[in-house]
Symmetry: C2
Subunit: 554 residues, 2 copies
């Protein structure tokens, strides 16, 4: 915690003071960001946001659909009080949509759908009705940290962490590998501490790992929950945000026969897959009537505008648009942006978990810490902020090892370029220059060495370990911050290896321009993305960018 | 409590079971209503809703405005996460709007505005941050009963009731008269019971009384709160729903110098004044920064769709439309509907509190109870439900005396006619015919007598006691259920008098047709309202209704 928590207020209760003082580790950064947002034209030196998991790549596609004539709609019933679980017409569309995209073996039922203003509200409500105050819910770490507040603020429910190790521990293992065994161990430990555990939270695709669990893995986790009579809250808000054709996502709603359907509750929403966090729509699918009834009682606090419900229903029923326009284009752009960012990481010698889902990359910046502590991690994060780029550090996700960062790539490429290629690079360079950072200097020496060996060929650097083939993970390797990278041949499986990205070939940190030019040459991103102007973009930016592009190509 | 509460679920926690089992007294009726909604064409024998406080009179006016080209709007920022207190553009418009319509002596500030998805959410949040669990908040009864759940479900805060007597107790008093003294007494009693009271809730205009408190009265209440270091939550959601030109409403935001600005928090929203409960917009105005900060932390659970925020901002800034189109027309229609319903009540000999605000009338049906008990009140309420009309009984508002009902009049006249003139009348007639109801039969005898005395002149029946002149309330009079109405001349100030409506002249309960014809002749309601079809209305209905109108006029 770095910002001073606000002082105790005489106007608030103890609970109120504690709510007011709750500050996520990143709050300071977001506060700064809100006051100094980057804007291409109006505030070019403002903060670039690579921290919030938002998809900013498809507003033009969305804009076309959302301005079609079926969207604005006036009907008195939309202005009236309605079913607090959501209008029937929307719940029907959600059921049909999930049936289709989750490949459900049987048609899902509108009656099992609860719609609320976001998945945070669903987490809060579910915690309130399946837990008593001070009860706890199991969650593997790292995890999307906001869930802590979702369960805590209103419902006074704790999370019990099951830490996943960033190092693969043997054959068939992979970094941050979640297994039934680890869940069992975690549960045992929680019970030893006298906690009452009511549920386990699983995310698939995972936030922040972007890991996709196979159907078999998910079934194993669900069996664990069943064995222990735990509810299983499965968060699938990134289910359509998978941008590698060779990777298939399996929703638990597609499982033929769920181990414990009465305790399996599946979340989905519009925020990530349709880039519409602002429309405030989260959905829950559960066969448990008691849960639905209890949630309905809390629904009045989490109601969604009738008009937004109409729009979302229109969108979800437009299967043609979703499957043939939005998803392919969205995936193509995500893939290109992911490829740009990971190319940058590779060129900077930064290992990362190579996954092809969600909107972010989980990157290993341990070598830039002067010592393996969360203070150091925070100090690095602040360094980025000083260089006007906000990302998320691992501590915000309760990661057990300091030095990991979540970097969001789903943004216009000139923002990525500014944020990653310039500002993050500069921040790291500054650390490199600081007297304490022997490790970094060594890593940097190594970088230069690698560059000599591999010349300009970094674009061919192959990243391994796609979640579709977990078996291939035996070569997962880990770069230990305190030890310099060895300059001998192939990387071994000891403690000095690159994680999940084979032999990344960082160029000299000094040759920034060269890297930029290289990226521009080796990527087809610009060709695919700059000619069209996204909605809301300043036209001047396009011109400036095109000019830069021409110059870079010379 | 009449419906069996759901049994204990093994899937829910104790808290969850208790949340699920929370059932308002009226829930059964609304559940029935939802399954059997009246629809003019599709379900003409379905249940008429005169229970939910919704304004259904102006959808045509609203529809015209809400379908104007400025309403649908695409902007990426509306699809993104935003300030959980509401977009700045909306908070600015709310501040300007309140400055104008609350006649604030100084411009109100956007920074002091918090926007959430409804006032229920605001109640829940405020309770969470100014109270600890089990603390309590003072509230005069009767009051809008849902507040009980708003404070209880998430925040575990109780209401402590300050009962207002339905009988005026002396000079300068009026029925259900709230005074500083009563608040002081209530607070003393609460403290004696060992409760920690953190705040007092005031509603102006009041729900369900439709009472409008003067600025002096409100200042006195605020002084009480200040003296006792209580927060004062002022609910002004009906502030523009005042339809008598001679009555002026004074918002506490218009007070020159608030007694305790740091503890004065004013609620308003779109649900009532703009008939848009479905858009889920509630606003709070408070100068207390600590409170704003604490609410902001909970805001993520109560976010509003960016698109709806845009629409509401467009509406609120259209001062021309609000002041020159919507408000005058809305008030005219409300006045006519109110006049129709109160005419009916008068013709049926039912006393009511004569106020000219909000969307409902608080009516005294005590004479229809076989004994003064809440069981009897509920039984009468169920009688209405059997006759396919749902209203709200006093118990739902924690009224201390059984027999009072809140009847919503803000609906199309043919619905009022069906609900009030036919179904409620029939239900009461049925009770009249039942062997136990000696009082009712006597009342009915009296009705017939009155009718003879006053012939067909009931339209001139003057109702007294408008809130603009509380001094005139010394003649407020009360009909005591167990005693027959005296058949002698002018009503006296004893215990057998009509409350707040001077010498109502009920016609014979048998001459229903005559009354209908009379109403049609004596009211200009039909002329003003039927020719235009409201949005969503079935055109056939208009034809049928016009034909009926013609026949009735013959």
């Amino acid at each position: 915690m770095t910002t001073a928590a606000p002082s105790v207020s005489v106007y608030l209760s103890n609970r109120g003071n504690s709510i007011r003082q709750t500050q996520g580790i990143l709050q300071e950064g977001y506060a700064q960001y809100l006051m100094d947002k980057h804007h291409d034209a109006k505030n070019p030196y403002g903060i670039i946001n690579m921290g919030t998991s938002e998809n900013k790549l498809c507003y033009d596609v969305l804009g076309k659909r959302l301005t079609k004539p079926d969207m604005p709609h006036f009907d008195p019933s939309l202005l009236q009080y309605s079913d607090w679980k959501g209008h029937t017409f929307l719940r029907e569309e959600v059921a049909k949509f999930l049936t289709h995209y989750c490949c459900s073996p049987n048609p899902l039922k509108a009656n099992n759908v609860v719609v609320m203003n976001g998945c945070g509200s669903l987490f809060s409500c579910i915690a309130a009705v399946i837990c008593d105050p001070k009860d706890a819910i199991l969650i593997p770490t790292p995890f999307y940290g906001v869930i802590t507040e979702d369960l805590q603020l209103y419902s006074d429910v704790k999370l019990f962490h099951v830490p996943l190790d960033c190092e693969a521990d043997g054959k068939d293992s992979r970094p941050f590998h979640l297994t039934e065994g680890k869940l069992e161990e975690g549960l045992k430990r929680a019970k030893q501490e006298g906690l009452i555990i009511r549920a386990v939270i699983l995310m698939n695709p995972h936030n922040p790992l972007a890991e996709i669990y196979t159907a078999d893995e998910m079934i194993a986790f669900l069996e664990f929950a069943k064995r222990n009579e735990l509810h299983c809250i499965v968060d699938e808000v990134y289910m359509l945000t998978v941008f590698d054709e060779s990777v298939s996502f399996n929703s638990v709603l597609g499982i033929d026969s769920l181990p414990d359907p009465q305790r399996t509750h599946v979340m989905w929403g519009m925020s990530k897959d349709f880039a519409m966090a602002g429309i405030r729509i989260g959905t829950l699918y559960t066969e448990n009537r008691d849960l639905v009834e209890a949630l309905a009682q809390l629904g009045a606090f989490h109601g969604v505008s009738g008009n937004s419900q109409h729009q979302v229903a229109q969108l979800l029923q437009d299967r043609e648009w979703i499957s043939k326009e939005f998803l392919p284009e969205n995936r193509r752009r995500l893939k290109a942006a992911h490829s740009y960012l990971t190319g940058e990481l590779q060129s900077m010698g930064i290992p990362y978990l190579d996954r092809h889902a969600a909107l972010y990359v989980w990157a290993d910046l341990r070598k830039f810490l002067r010592e393996p502590s969360f203070e150091e991690e925070l100090s690095l994060w602040k360094g980025f902020l000083r260089h006007k780029v906000v990302v998320s550090c691992g501590q915000a996700f309760c990661c057990s090892t300091p030095g990991w960062f979540r970097i969001v790539f789903a943004d216009q490429q000139h923002h990525l370029q500014l944020g990653q290629s310039l500002r993050i690079r500069e921040a790291l360079k500054e650390i490199e220059g600081s007297p304490d950072s022997h490790a970094i200097r060594e890593a940097s020496d190594e970088s230069e060495k690698s560059e000599k060996e591999d010349s300009d060929d970094s674009d061919n650097a192959v990243v391994v370990n796609s979640t579709s083939s977990p078996e291939s993970k035996s070569s997962d390797q880990l770069m230990e911050k305190d030890c310099p990278v060895p300059d001998t041949g192939p990387l071994d499986t000891g403690d000095l290896v690159l994680l999940d990205c084979q032999a990344s070939k960082p160029d000299s940190l000094g040759s920034l321009i060269g890297t930029l030019r290289h990226q521009i040459h080796s990527s087809d991103w610009l060709e695919k993305n700059t000619p069209e102007l996204s909605a809301g973009e300043d036209p001047q930016i396009l011109d400036v960018f095109k000019a830069l592009l021409q110059r870079a190509r010379k």
